[in-house]
Structures are given as C-alpha cells and as structure tokens.
C-alpha cells in the first residue's frame, strides 16, 4: 500500500531552470527509501516539497490518500515528521523543553512521559535538563531525531540525519529506524551522501541529478542491472551515463 505518492512534480524558481523535473515516487508502508544524488540534485527540495514548504510548479503530493494542499497540510503533517542536519533546535532551551514544545505542537497526550521516552531512545536522559547549547553537534542531531519521533510518525523525512554522528551512534540510529519500520510500519525517506549507509538502511533507492530521477528500484535489482558491486559504483556509473 502506498502511504505517500509524489506524481510528476516539477519546480522552477526561474524560467527554464528546474530544481525538480517530473519527479515521481511512491513510498510503501514500512519502507525506507534512500534518495541519492550529488549536491544540487534536488534531494532537499524534494523533501521540502513533500512537507509543503515549497509549492510545486506542477504535479502533486498525496499522503495517506489525501492530496497535499493548504487546507489538508496540517492534518497530513500531524502524521509526519522531519529531521535535518541543516536545521537546529533552540539552543537556549534544554532538550526536554524543546521536546515539550514539539509534543504540544503535535498534540501528544502524555507529553512528559513521551518526551522522556524519546530522549531515552537516543541516550539523552542525562542531558535532558542542560541547555542544548552545551550539547555536541552529534548530541544535537540525536535531539533532532528524538524530536522527529515525538509523534510516532507514520512517515519520517530525514535529510542527512547521520551527518555529525559518530559511527557507533549512526549505526544504532539506522538500526533503530529499521526496527521502527518493521515493528510499527513507519515509512522513511532518507537522504545521505554516505552510500554505504544507504546500502545498509534502504529497502529501495532513488538516484537524482539536476532535479531529475535517473533511476529507482531495489538496491539489489539496480546493482544487478548495472553490473555494479555496490551503491558507490552504481552512483558513479549512473552519473557517468547521464553525462
């Protein structure tokens, strides 16, 4: 069952230049879709368009069977969440205060317990009452991930979520995401420049370049059809073919 559909989305910020060009994808329940591409490929623009931060020039987004529009956006976003290494949380507030604010924004009922539970999932219990500015960049990213899980989202959009995390925490984060997907049916769109990580975490991958989708499918299928040993080799082959 498709929980998210992106149909023929294009976005042009200036005449003749497309940040996204006829992008289509479907995300199944419980699936992790890795979005790959060089800088400027349109990965982040795609995520922002799905979140309704950018309106497409053409095409549409549908989540939970509801077409995304100004009228339906709040209802859709209640069931989604987002984390990015490019976005932060207020540093003056403590992790717990930040979580309490977002718990209220997402209408969580037992806020205090849920905040402590999600902070605990990322090993932030001991830091929860210290100002967030005392956290390292890796701890801040863990806090952003905890925020992203506060509403137990059905769709999670992650823009380079493991940037700044040490390898051990990054591995644990990927494991946690995989178990949340398999146990709770959470679906994830995940961008990263780390191709090894993508290979480990993604059920399917989507390659983008210049705002276009070059290819998408199951990693094993794509590797087979391109005769590549791993995603890194596939990545360079895909870019080479596109040239």
């Amino acid at each position: 069952m498709n929980i998210l559909k992106v149909n023929g989305i294009s976005k042009s910020f200036e005449p003749g230049v497309y940040a996204l060009s006829d992008v289509s994808l479907a995300l199944e329940k419980g699936e992790i879709l890795g979005v790959l591409g060089p800088n400027g490929a349109g990965k982040t623009t795609l995520i922002h368009t799905i979140l309704g931060l950018i309106s497409p020039s053409s095409g549409w987004v549908e989540a939970f069977g509801i077409r995304l529009s100004a009228q339906t956006r709040a209802g859709i976003l209640r069931r989604m969440n987002f984390a990015s290494s490019y976005v932060s949380l207020p540093l003056t507030l403590t992790p717990r205060e930040n979580m309490m604010v977002y718990a209220l924004m997402y209408g969580i009922k037992d806020r205090a317990a849920r905040c402590d539970e999600t902070l605990g999932m990322f090993g932030l219990e001991k830091l929860k009452n210290k100002p967030s500015r005392t956290l390292s960049s890796g701890q801040m990213m863990r806090l952003a991930l905890a925020k992203a899980l506060i509403n137990d989202p059905e769709i999670l959009l992650l823009d380079e979520p493991t940037a700044g995390l040490d390898p051990e925490i990054a591995r644990k984060t990927r494991q946690m995401l995989k178990s949340l997907c398999s146990e709770r049916g959470m679906s994830v769109i995940y961008t990263s420049h780390n191709l090894w990580e993508m290979q480990e975490v993604s059920d399917r991958v989507l390659f983008m370049k210049g705002g276009k989708v070059l290819m998408q499918g199951r990693s094993a299928d794509l590797l087979g059809s391109y005769g590549a040993k791993n995603l890194e080799e596939l990545f360079f082959k895909a870019l080479g073919e596109d040239k």
């Binding site: 976005k11 910020f13 940040a19 982040t44 623009t45 922002h48 979140l51 309704g52 931060l53 950018i54 309106s55 709040a74 209802g75 976003l77 209640r78 989604m80 969440n81 987002f82 990015s84 490019y86 976005v87 932060s88 949380l89 207020p90 540093l91 003056t92 507030l93 403590t94 205060e97 309490m100 604010v101 977002y102 209220l104 924004m105 997402y106 209408g107 100002p131 952003a144 925020k147």
Partner: protein, 264 residues
C-alpha cells in the same frame, strides 16, 4: 484553530525568557533605563521652567509608559519570530501541524505577556520615582493600552512578513520600523506642534489619537471618546491590512521556496 498549538508557540518563547538574561533585559532593563533617564530629565526641565507646565511630568511619564506598550507589542511579535530564525528552528516549526494563523496568534500571546510585564514594571517605577500614577487615566487606561498594543501588533505582523520574505537582511526593521511612527504619533508633544502636512499624516496614525486622548485625560478635560474611536477604527483597518499582507507574503514565500533558504 487549536489552543495547544498556540500555547506551544508561546511556551517556546517563555522557556527562552526563563533562560536568557539578554531577553529578560529586553523586557526589564531597557524600559527601566528609558524611564530613569527621561523621567529625571523631565523632572529637571519642570523645575527649571517654573510652573509654566504643571502637567509636564505626567504627560511625559505617561507618554513614556504608553509608548513602551506599543514598542513591546511590536517587538513581541517581530523579535519572537526572529528568535526562531536565529536558532535555525523555523523549518522545524513550519513542518508541524501548527498553522500560520496559530503561529501568529502564539506570537501575539507572548507579545501580550511582554507588554503586561513591562507595563506593570514601568507603572510601579513611575509611581515610586515620580509620584505618577498611571491609574490617573481612569476608564480610558484600558482602551488606550489596547489601542497602542493593537497598533504594535499591526506593525509587528507587517515587519514579520517582510522578514519572512527577505530574511535576516530585514531584521533591522524589527527595531527600526516602530520608531518611524514616533515623531508623527505626537507621543511627547501635541499634534498641534506638527506642521500642517505632518498633522495630516498624524491623523492616519492610531497612536497620535491615543496620545492626544491621554493628554486630554491628564489635563482633566474629558474622557477621550472621539480619540479612542478614531484610534480603534484605524487599528481595525491596519490590523486587517497587516494580516492580508502577511498572508500574501506567505504565499509568495511558499511559491518561491524561501522558507528553507531563510530557515537553515
């Protein structure tokens, strides 16, 4: 409109004021400094000018306190919005189910709390240091304060729309735009002092009617019904226009993909 969403926006700002000395100073320190500096200068001027201006201290201290109401109301919205930009938190907020209307209302709530805190502080100081009781304004006090708050909100919403559109390049407006109205609002002097063409400008500024009304009450003349009515009518128009402007800018911002650019 969900009360919990509005409360969340306000709570984020309240947490900030709890923890940030700099933000607390904005509500306590600067208004107090203004009152001390200009208040004592006023006392000195009255003493040296003899009995020519018996209500001078009252006019001036009253004007200082009420101008601060307008200024805090404006900053309560625009600077609170800037807080989310400075902390790179804007995208996180804008991808929650909180609508723009709820977000703006949350900023209005926090603005109201800031106005109330600064107003109480300045009123107590005005009474303690200059024997000026703001309660002198009697029944007109609440409508005067509400009108100045409403004008502050209209400027704050307008400023916030410009910051949303142009990013941090426009942040100076959060401090500067309110002051544009200061010379024409007849805060410390009557409108009659202004030259003819500026009197025409003042007629379109709600604050000028409010401050004329304040002076009318302090001089013991009358309840400033006409001034309050004029100020209220103008504020209703400006608030509506500022909200329409904000909505228009928000659509432009979504269309041009500006939020991710200013929010990261």
């Amino acid at each position: 409109m969900k009360a919990s969403h509005v409360a969340a926006v306000a709570l984020r700002q309240l947490y900030l004021y709890k923890r940030s000395m700099a933000r607390l100073m904005e509500v306590v320190y600067w208004p107090t400094m203004d009152l001390l500096l200009w208040g004592f200068l006023t006392v000195y001027l009255r003493r040296t000018s003899g009995q020519n201006m018996p209500k001078f201290v009252s006019y001036f201290i009253g004007a200082l306190i009420l101008w601060d109401v307008l200024f805090r109301a404006e900053q309560g919205i625009s600077v609170s919005f800037l807080e989310d930009m400075w902390s790179r938190n804007l995208i996180n907020v804008f991808v929650t189910p909180v609508t723009m209307a709820e977000y703006l209302l949350g900023l209005i709530v926090i603005s109201f709390i800031k106005v109330a805190a600064a107003f109480v502080l300045l009123s107590v100081l005005g009474w303690a240091l200059y024997s000026f009781s703001i309660l002198k304004l009697g029944a007109s006090l609440l409508p005067l304060v509400l009108n100045l708050t409403a004008m502050g909100w209209a400027i704050g919403i307008f400023t916030t729309a410009l910051i949303l559109r142009y990013g941090l390049e426009a942040e100076i407006l959060a401090w500067a735009l309110g002051f544009v109205f200061l010379p024409f609002s007849a805060v410390f002097y009557p409108v009659s002092v202004l030259p003819g063409f500026l009197r025409a400008v003042a007629a379109f500024i709600p604050a000028s009617h409010a401050f004329e009304g304040m002076r009318a009450v302090i001089s013991g003349a009358r309840f400033p019904a006409r001034e309050l009515l004029d100020a209220t009518a103008l504020n209703a128009v400006y608030l509506a226009l500022s909200l329409l402007f904000f909505r228009r800018i928000y659509r432009v911002v979504i269309d041009r993909g500006i939020i991710p650019k200013i929010g990261e």
